[in-house]
């Protein structure tokens, strides 16, 4: 009777690709070499459009931009694991996976440049808009996962958030409810170790974020988030699980935000150069490139071509962006309700008159 064990908690960490580009063969997932090259391409594309956004911002052609530099492996790895009909429910630092899931880059740019049309995705893109209120999107992830379950759809919901967002009540409610309902949801934490200036140890006393899954009776796993193979492996496992109807699970991808929080932030106020340098050495792109090199799957010519292609693709997207006609003043009003109520119509009329006079 006395003191008995009623629960045993074990949380594992998965790593496959080390910083030198060597993989653990026992754990290495089966991926076509062409897809591995694609993974690399995806990550370089992300890096390219992210750096471009920072440039645009400095030129005054972009609003506040949250860079994804350093977090490309998480986003590319999860994207590769997702099926065509799966839903993505992002927070606000998921431009990479959003683009991989089909959101046109020029829309991503448009959104962050301050144009609502940037969240009006093509109909076949199963992606929620950016969620700025930290943590709130977890609930949508749970809700979409429940929706897919109730409808018996062969699709899952993959939802993202940062380490900081795990402190919000919404994280808790969402993951807990998903557990109760057996929602077809995969919760992916991009633990980039900072929430603006707050380091992880000021965010929680828990040793890992993956262990939070124990609170909800769910499987949770930590992966090296700069290791695209580990991310992919864990994501496949979690997505398959949800797809089978075996319920939600949680992935903590440990990565690092190499840039500032946003273009409005100055990270040097709260973290040291050495830390950043340490993590620059773990850059997920360099790491995958090393792997490709070891395997003889890539060379400098390919790299040059890729970089050029990436640049010109980004430039082309900027062109599309810049060719978007300006929003009409009306657009502020026309999507407020399915049918415009009289007082909104009246105000729209006032604005139109004002702008035309």
């Amino acid at each position: 009777m006395p003191r008995t064990r009623v629960y045993e908690a074990v949380t594992e960490r998965l790593e496959i690709l080390d910083t030198e580009g060597r993989v653990d063969d026992a754990l290495m997932p089966e991926i076509d070499t062409s897809r591995i090259r694609d993974l690399y391409r995806d990550m370089v594309l992300m890096r390219t459009f992210d750096e471009k956004a920072l440039k645009l911002q400095r030129q005054g052609r972009m609003g506040t931009w949250p860079p994804i530099k350093g977090q490309e492996a998480v986003q590319a790895g999860v994207a590769l694991a997702m099926g065509e009909n799966d839903w993505l429910i992002p927070a606000f630092r998921e431009h990479g996976i959003m683009v991989l899931r089909g959101v046109p880059l020029h829309l991503v740019y448009a959104y962050w440049a301050g144009d609502e049309r940037g969240s009006s995705f093509p109909e076949d893109v199963r992606c929620f808009p950016v969620a700025v209120p930290v943590g709130s999107q977890w609930q949508h992830g749970a809700g979409v996962g429940l929706s897919l379950k109730l409808r018996g759809e062969d699709a899952v919901a993959v939802t993202f958030g940062g380490d900081g967002s795990t402190s919000e009540g919404d994280f808790h409610e969402a993951v807990n409810c998903a557990g109760v309902f057996g929602a077809k949801t995969v919760f992916v934490i991009q633990n980039n170790q900072w929430a603006i200036s707050i380091p992880l140890h000021k965010q929680t006393a828990a040793e890992t974020l993956a262990q939070k899954a124990h609170a909800y009776g769910l499987p949770g796993i930590q992966v090296d988030g700069n290791d695209v193979f580990a991310v992919f492996t864990a994501a496949v496992e979690a997505i398959e699980r949800a797809r089978r109807g075996d319920g939600p699970s949680l992935i903590e991808a440990v990565t690092y935000r190499l840039g500032d929080h946003t273009t409005a932030d100055d990270a040097s106020r709260y973290r040291g150069e050495e830390e950043v340098e340490k993590w620059e050495a773990r850059d997920p792109i360099i790491r995958l490139r090393r792997y490709l090199d070891h395997q003889g799957l890539w060379d400098d010519d390919q790299e040059t071509i890729l970089r050029e292609e990436a640049q010109s693709w980004v430039d082309a997207q900027i062109k599309v962006l810049e060719e978007m006609p300006p929003q009409e003043p009306e657009e502020m009003f026309t999507s407020m309700y399915a049918a415009m109520p009289p007082h909104v119509a009246e105000q729209m009329g006032e604005l139109i008159q004002e702008t035309r006079s």
Partner: protein, 343 residues
Amino acid sequence: MSASGAEGQALHAVPEVATEKQTIAQAVRDAMLEEMERDERVIVLGEDVGVDGGVFRATDGLIERFGAERVIDTPLAESAIIGMSVGLAATGFRPIAEIQFMGFVYPAINQLFAHAARMRNRTRGTLSCPMVVRMPYGGGIHPPEHHSESYEALFLNTPGFKVVVPSNPYDAKGLLISAIRDDDPVLFMEPKRVYRAFREAVPAEAYTVPLGRAAVAREGTDVTLIAWGAMVRVCLDASEVLAREDINAEVVDLRTLNPLDRETIISSVVKTGRAVVVHEAPRTGGFGAEISAQIHEHAMLQLEAPVQRVAGFDVVFPLAHNEKLYLPSRDRIVKAVEKVLAF
């Protein structure tokens, strides 16, 4: 059922079809039941809405009829109830979420305002949140703290939401059906004080009462009383008292607070020249101010006196002992009318 019946102005204009004497609580339940029969995208979720049938029995029997997949007992988590509803609604369901009492809506405000109300606009129409959030509100039943609140003003400076408040069983059913069919999020406030206070004839089948249209609950010529929910009956009571003094009050039952039926309000006030707005929420910053402001903006020259407000005091809603002292009463309304008449 004739369209004029459903869309008519009179409070009791029940069309000639099979009817049943029902309370508001029953009418609310039947509205959900019929819409769930009609449209399988409609689901119900909330705390105790399933097996228990809701703490006010407003979802009584639904789980037996539709099963636990469509009548979902949730964990105790208001933000999740609404946040998950956002996910459900944006992907094809039409959730009817219950917040057990309006006093417990606060934890859900973020999901309601930052997401439900914005999804359509944020995505320029690509995604939307057709959902109804039902919540019992208001005083008069002597419950514990936080069970008597009328927080409508909280919801009326946030675009993207509709806010509906029935005052009687007929409207309750017709408005709720409209709300469920509406393509935008609708906050549906249920006056718990009169949940079972009286019965009225309610058509057995489905019908709609349009959102955004007030009803003239009583015609009059001398003063316009403007109210919603449980306060409509208090205004009607006051009108009886006033009638004895030969004061003929018109009572406008707003039914929908957003969008507001300014036309009905203004044309009544233009006719009577005087208006008193009545609500349970504290006076300052309450929605009565908006109505007063709009009346002055649009009918100043026709007013014989400034619009008066009869409202709760600017204090925390008191526990049972003082509840009666707090709530707008028939006598307070009568006094306010006398004041506008004497201006």
